[in-house]
């Protein structure tokens, strides 16, 4: 039974009248001054409020509220300790909704809506609460806009959007006002007026229009339908395909056009347009609105307005043929992160962009090395492992890579391959170091002979991990099972992935053990100022956001991907595919993505500010770095972890 239930009929009869000279105990007033939203109130209001409060203590494991039963007589403001909020389904399954710690309140929603408790609340630590009587609290909400605004806000769905906004605006000082370009400007803004010509026109007619209008590209529409664009020609096409080839100007324009026309939606952000241009190599894109093309956006237009962009760096890397230049460009990549965070990039976007840049560096290094050393004796694929394999790197962390090459036909070829790839890997790893990617302390790198092998050897290694699922396999899963092709012959990486996928399908115990490991990994967390933190050790009262926050999501996505034969390695992409294949619900998918992105974001911003202070970036977040809203959101994110663990628990029940 709840303690509150007992309290309802308590008579308030005491002989002593304290009202005339009561002093509000400092303990309450000073606590209110630190707690949202009470800190917005004046000293007088807080004094008065304190006089109406009581302090209660609930030992660990006390049920405070019971869903749909408890009449909420008091708002509970947690002074010390922590509670969990949960709902028990009809089948007895417990769905965790929230953790709350010091500074958080309980029961506001029920009081404001005049309903019974909408959640079960149970203390998970010894917990002291200030109890504010229901009517006093309602008066506060009615009379004080800061209070009502706070509670309305915390109930609304806009919390997420607001917090992202706060993240951007509070954490980093802007360098200049035009920083916001990448994430504020859409394809529609960039779109140039549309000029087009019918497909039956000649090359000369097209060139004439381009010259008269001073435009670098022209769209081609189908003769019968002026609204339907079939292709595009550019200055480059005229130069390369007509003049250089001596083509007859009277030929139809369709003979030199690029077709079909690649488009982006009018709402696409500048950032997404850049990503598309970088990954496809196409520099002219149609802008589409409501099914028809309304204009063209070009890389040139973006570059003109955006001097120091990722795309600019990308193009420079592509053009380099000197190692020294590549090294210095490689070291510029981290600097890009700041720019695009300032512009409002979500961490998911940032890592995609970084992966493209890293891949391009790798591409240039290996291409130049092959030019030096001569072509490889066998096809090979340079594998990216770990976070680079998942395309989740932000600031540079240790190299994790490997080489898989085609199976040699005979002894001699085997020896030549071994020598060539050993040399190639050695040089590549050193160049990568020069570019700012430090060596891996556990030597998980292609220059380690253990991780530079022909396809058949790799299959044997993976088969062992997959069939035995011993501690080594569980330990290395996070690095090796997230491999992806980085450079060379992609088919080898595809073959290896096929092999891994089918081996696991073959009743491998690996996903089971990985899943149990995830479930067992419930963090020993505590609360500090309404914040989930490490309970002991060197980083007591701080949060290891990588270990506690991000890893559970990454691990979940990996286990599920391995279990359901999803070949993708990127966590967000894995989650998306799991959702599409109906392995996780839409609701869980969306909550998971929100939670994961928020934490990536916090981590990136935390590390960026450390780097700017000249410190080594780490993963330990201090509560004082965060706003109340961010703490709130972090707790939401943590409640998702519990849900993910429940999914795994159900899918891989304990033996």
């Amino acid at each position: 039974m709840s303690l509150l239930d007992k309290e309802k009929n308590e008579p308030e009869l005491f002989a002593y009248d304290s009202s005339t000279h009561a002093v509000a105990p400092e303990v309450a007033v000073s606590f209110f001054k630190q707690s949202m939203p009470f800190k917005e109130l004046s000293q007088e209001v807080l004094q008065e409020l304190a006089l109406h409060c009581r302090i209660d203590f609930f030992p660990k494991g006390t049920r405070l509220f019971t869903y749909n039963e408890t009449e909420i007589t008091h708002l509970h403001l947690i002074q010390r300790g922590g509670v969990r909020a949960f709902i028990t389904g009809e089948d007895g399954e417990v769905a965790l909704k929230d953790y709350r710690g010091a500074g958080a309140n309980i029961g506001a929603l029920g009081i404001i809506r005049g309903t019974r408790a909408n959640l079960n609340i149970e203390t998970i630590e010894d917990t002291f609460c200030f109890l504010i009587p229901r009517d006093i609290f309602l008066d506060l909400v009615r009379e004080n806009s800061a209070v009502s605004h706070f509670f309305l806000k915390s109930f609304s769905d806009n919390v997420v959007a607001t917090a992202y906004h706060e993240l951007r605006s509070n954490k980093l000082s802007r360098r200049s006002s035009d920083d916001l370009y990448l994430f504020n400007v859409t394809a529609r803004d960039l779109s140039k007026a549309l000029f087009s010509i019918s497909a039956s026109s000649s090359i000369q007619e097209a060139a004439a229009i381009m010259a008269r209008r001073s435009i670098g590209s022209l769209l081609i529409y189908a003769d019968e339908d002026p609204g339907s664009m079939v292709g595009i020609i550019t200055d480059t096409d005229l130069r390369g395909k007509v003049i250089a080839e001596g083509l007859d100007y009277r030929e139809p324009v369709t003979s030199i056009m690029s077709s079909p026309l690649k488009t982006v939606p009018a709402s696409a952000l500048c950032f997404d347009i850049l990503l598309k241009m970088m990954s496809t190599g196409i520099h002219h894109l149609g802008v589409e609105l409501g099914g028809s093309v309304i204009g063209v956006v070009t890389s040139h237009d973006i570059l003109v307005q955006q001097g120091n962009s990722p795309y600019y760096l990308f193009k420079e890397i592509v053009a380099q043929s000197e190692f020294q230049e590549i090294h210095s460009l490689g070291r510029k990549i981290s600097g890009i992160v700041r720019n695009i965070i300032n512009e409002g990039a979500k961490a998911g976007n940032i890592t995609q962009m970084i992966a493209l840049l890293n891949d391009q560096i790798l591409n240039r290094i290996l291409t130049l090395l092959q030019d030096q050393m001569g072509p490889p004796p066998l096809k090979y694929s340079w594998l990216q492992l770990g976070s680079e394999g998942r395309r989740e790197q932000t600031f540079k962390t240790d190299q994790d890579n490997a080489i898989v090459y085609a199976d040699p036909a005979d002894e001699g070829e085997a020896r030549r391959a071994e020598e060539y790839f050993k040399l190639l890997a050695n040089r590549a790893v050193n160049h990568l170091v020069e570019c700012g990617y430090p060596l891996c302390s556990s030597e998980t790198m292609a220059n380690n002979p253990q991780w530079c092998k022909p396809l058949s050897s790799w299959k044997a290694i993976f088969r062992k991990w997959i069939s035995i699922a011993d501690s080594e396999a569980l330990l290395t899963a996070g690095i090796f099972f997230d491999f992806r092709h980085g450079f060379g012959s992609e088919q080898l990486a595809v073959d290896l992935r096929d092999f891994v996928t089918s081996e696991i399908k073959n009743h491998s115990p690996l996903p089971y053990y990985l899943a149990r490991q995830c479930v067992a990994n419930r963090a020993p967390l505590s609360f500090f100022n309404n914040f989930i933190v490490e309970k002991d050790g060197e980083h007591k009262d701080q949060l290891d956001i990588k270990l506690r926050g991000l890893s559970p999501f990454v691990d979940f996505a990996r286990v599920m991907a391995l279990r359901f034969g999803i070949r993708e390695t990127n966590t967000l992409e894995r989650l998306r595919l799991l959702h599409i294949n109906e392995k996780i619900s839409k609701d869980l998918y969306e909550s998971t993505v929100d939670a994961y992105e928020l934490q990536m974001q916090l981590r990136v911003i935390h590390q960026l500010s450390q780097i700017e202070d000249g410190r080594e970036p780490d993963n330990y977040i201090h509560p004082e770095e965060l706003t109340d809203l961010e703490k709130q959101m972090l707790k939401d994110a943590f409640s998702v972890i519990e849900r993910l663990q429940n999914v795994l628990d159900n899918l891989f029940p304990e033996a």
């Binding site: 007992k6 002593y16 002093v23 302090i55 209660d56 030992p59 002291f128």
Partner: protein
Amino acid sequence: MFDRIRRLPWFKPADERILENRAYFKDFDQTRPLTDYSFVVFDTELTGLNRKKDEIISIGAVRIKNLQIDLGETFHRFIKPEKLDHTEATLVHRITPEQLKDAPPMEQVLPEFLSFVGNSLIVGHYVGLDMSFLHRVTEKHYNGTLMNPCVDTIRMAQGYKRVMFGYYHEGGTTNSRYSLKDLSEEFNLPFFEAHDALEDAMQTAYLFLYLIKKFRKGGLITLRELYQAGRESDWRVLSSG
């Protein structure tokens, strides 16, 4: 002769408040649930520890009802000692002589405090010391002492630790592990650097609340059980929960 007997304090009839207090606690029912009782947690500031000479110069108290600290019912007074000049040198550093000069004397504060205490049970940290000073002033002003049952949070803490951690080798109350500060830290209670008797009383109230609810979780329901548990060396009832 008659006059001389009358002047002896034990012969004077006790004040009405004292008589009422005695009557109330004569047949005091200890079998009701703990939530039914009202407690007053109090602390005093003294000019020194000499029970014959030293005086109370401040009283702080908070009320606990329904096992909750009621922040609307607190009591805090400074008291002008009879020998202000003499005490100046020995004053506890957190009260200045200035604060005492204009403070009311004990005969004005005492009735206020007794009315605040009323029929509540009295709680204190090493409560015996505060009570002995309180008894002295009630004897003096009202010819009698309060009968309210007292609860000592040090003894509660000793009992609690004995059961929870198996400390059978009790070192007595002077053991530093039992200071208010140490216990608050040990049990991870909200802690504030106390500035006055009220804040000490508040800190003691937190400790009391913590201990009594920990006991209650162990199955201890009535006041009588609390007292019995305090007396017995084997506080088994606590560990059953």
